[in-house]
């Protein structure tokens, strides 16, 4: 059974139901039921017109549910009163679905869950597995999200920026499990990029492709983190890099710079270096300057300090770091790295140990502990 096809059809089927007058929450439930039935029925009996099959089954599920409901009269009247589903060539329904699922009234966790289900066509169970929560919890999160957006008009354009933030979250929260969230985020962003001509959508797609390209090289066989400079660049996915660079270049040519394009440009400069020593750090610092202008984010300025350390030497990096709040996440780890490069191994070892203590995840903690251990062994030996 072609699960990718099934899932790519989901938003289109859902919007047909909504256009026929079903309300979003009920239509979405009906489409889930139809997907479950498709998974059961298609392997033995694949339909000739998969989308038509899904629309028929989902519409039947919707009507069954409407009839079964105690508020049956009200709903049937409502369906009758809806204007006929005439053609609406100027509104892309799938695009509207992205806007609805990322509506600003939703919390980030709700928007992520609703997007994965309604746009991505994932079942509640698989979304729950991906985020390591019980299925009942995820089901509640999704139904609350649907209630929250119940009153939102489906035909008004939303904000692209909110959709991009949701997709970025899906990509970046790399929880493990059966669902490859990074690949799913790329699929959804690619689908979005095909529907809307917006340089930041392209910028986000490029950013994802360029980072995803490094995935195989990012962890050692024992599960430990491999820093960018030590990665085996032969294991980077060159096709993904080439696509990311092409998408980025087309976006930059539009001359409407945004934060995702700037981040992608930095990733592209790393991808462009055959060896870590050949990285164009001067240009990377310039892109961080752009990014700092666009976002004013302290995390950006922290990363910029690392880049300055590479471009102009560790003393310059430490000077850039001194201007930043030392309670920032990873501030201590950056300080440790710059002091090591500056030759102060005792201080660097102490800072690595402190950074390990503050690390936000186990992989980073283990990595930083190894760094401290390495320097302490060097000093003792």
């Amino acid at each position: 059974m072609d699960e990718a096809l099934l899932r790519s059809l989901t938003p289109g089927v859902l919007t047909v139901l909504v256009r026929r007058g079903a309300d979003f929450a009920e239509a979405e439930d009906a489409v889930q039921d139809a997907l479950v039935e498709a998974v059961r029925a298609w392997p033995a009996d694949p339909p000739r017109d998969p989308k038509g099959w899904l629309v028929t089954v989902a519409w039947r599920k919707f009507l069954d549910a409407a009839r079964a409901d105690t508020a049956r009269r009200r709903r049937e009247d409502q369906v009758d009163e809806e204007p006929p589903p005439g053609p609406a060539p100027d509104v892309d329904d799938t695009l509207q679905l992205y806007f609805l699922c990322a509506h600003p009234s939703l919390t980030p966790a709700s928007a992520v869950a609703l997007t994965l289900r309604a746009v991505g066509g994932l079942t509640t169970r698989r979304i729950a597995q991906a985020y390591l929560v019980p299925e009942a919890t995820m089901a509640q999160r999704i139904s609350r999200a649907k209630r929250t957006v119940a009153g939102v008009r489906f035909d008004r354009p939303g904000e692209v920026a909110t959709v991009l933030r949701v997709l970025y979250l899906v990509f970046n929260e790399g929880y493990s499990g059966d669902v490859d969230l990074a690949a799913e985020a790329i699929r959804l962003t690619r689908q979005l990029a095909a529907r809307i001509d917006h340089p930041e959508v392209a910028g986000l797609l490029a950013l994802m492709l360029l980072h995803h390209a490094r995935r195989a090289a990012r962890t050692a066989p024992d599960g430990s983190l491999v820093p960018l400079a030590e990665q085996d660049r032969g294991r980077w996915d060159t096709a993904s890099i080439a696509e990311g660079v092409a998408v980025l270049q087309a976006a930059l040519a539009r001359d409407r710079l945004g934060e995702f394009q700037a981040q992608a440009a930095i990733a592209a400069l790393h991808a462009d270096a055959p060896r870590a020593e050949e990285t164009d750090w001067v240009q990377i610092v310039e892109w961080y300057d752009e990014l700092a202008r666009l976002t004013d984010s302290p995390v950006v300025r922290l990363n910029r300090a690392v880049a300055v350390g590479e471009a102009d030497g560790p003393r310059a990096g430490l000077a850039a770091l001194a201007a930043l709040d030392d309670s920032l996440p990873r501030h201590t780890a950056v300080a440790a790295y710059l002091h090591e490069r500056d030759g102060d191994l005792a201080l660097a070892a102490r800072l690595y140990a402190e950074a390990a203590h503050r690390a936000p995840n186990l992989a980073e903690r283990d990595h930083l502990t190894r760094q401290a251990a390495r320097l302490n062994a060097l000093r003792a030996g």
């Binding site: 024992d222 430990s224 503050r358 903690r365 283990d366 502990t369 401290a372 251990a373 302490n376 062994a377």
Partner: protein
């Protein structure tokens, strides 16, 4: 089957035998320790005894209710004297003896010099649901 919680402490437990801070080990010793923990969890998964394992950040806050309409009272960060949990593993085993055996094995994780740490772990039985058959 009965569930047990294996608690690892940052501090508050008696000092282990092999008491060298991790950043004073060699990088190879750190890797060996991490591998031991990973293998231990994988083994319990394969025997059908693993339930959950989580690590906790060293920071934390005590919080309590301070009355209607008032913000909660907080205390922290934890003072040096306070007991501090580092993480846990939940196992589902046939007997208390088996739980003790596994806790002992986990406490033997290698540390400095590749020698077992002999770390103290806290073993706590879960309160279970009432049984269906009571007589």
């Amino acid at each position: 089957m009965a569930k047990y919680l294996l608690l690892k402490h940052y501090r508050g437990a008696p000092a282990p035998v092999n008491n060298v801070p991790m950043d004073r080990w060699t990088p190879e010793e750190v890797s060996a320790h991490i591998q031991y923990m990973r293998d231990f969890a994988a083994k319990l998964e394969s025997t059908g005894e693993f339930v959950d394992a989580q690590a906790l950040a060293p920071e934390g806050t005590f919080v309590r209710y301070d009355g209607e309409g008032r913000p909660p009272v907080t205390d922290g960060p934890f003072a040096e004297t306070k007991d501090l949990i580092a993480g846990w593993m939940v196992i589902d085993v046939d007997s208390h003896e088996r739980a003790v055996e596994l806790a002992g094995e986990l406490s033997a994780a290698p540390g400095a010099g590749g020698e077992p740490i002999h770390e103290w772990l806290e073993l706590r039985p879960f309160l279970s649901m009432p049984p269906t058959v009571t007589e």
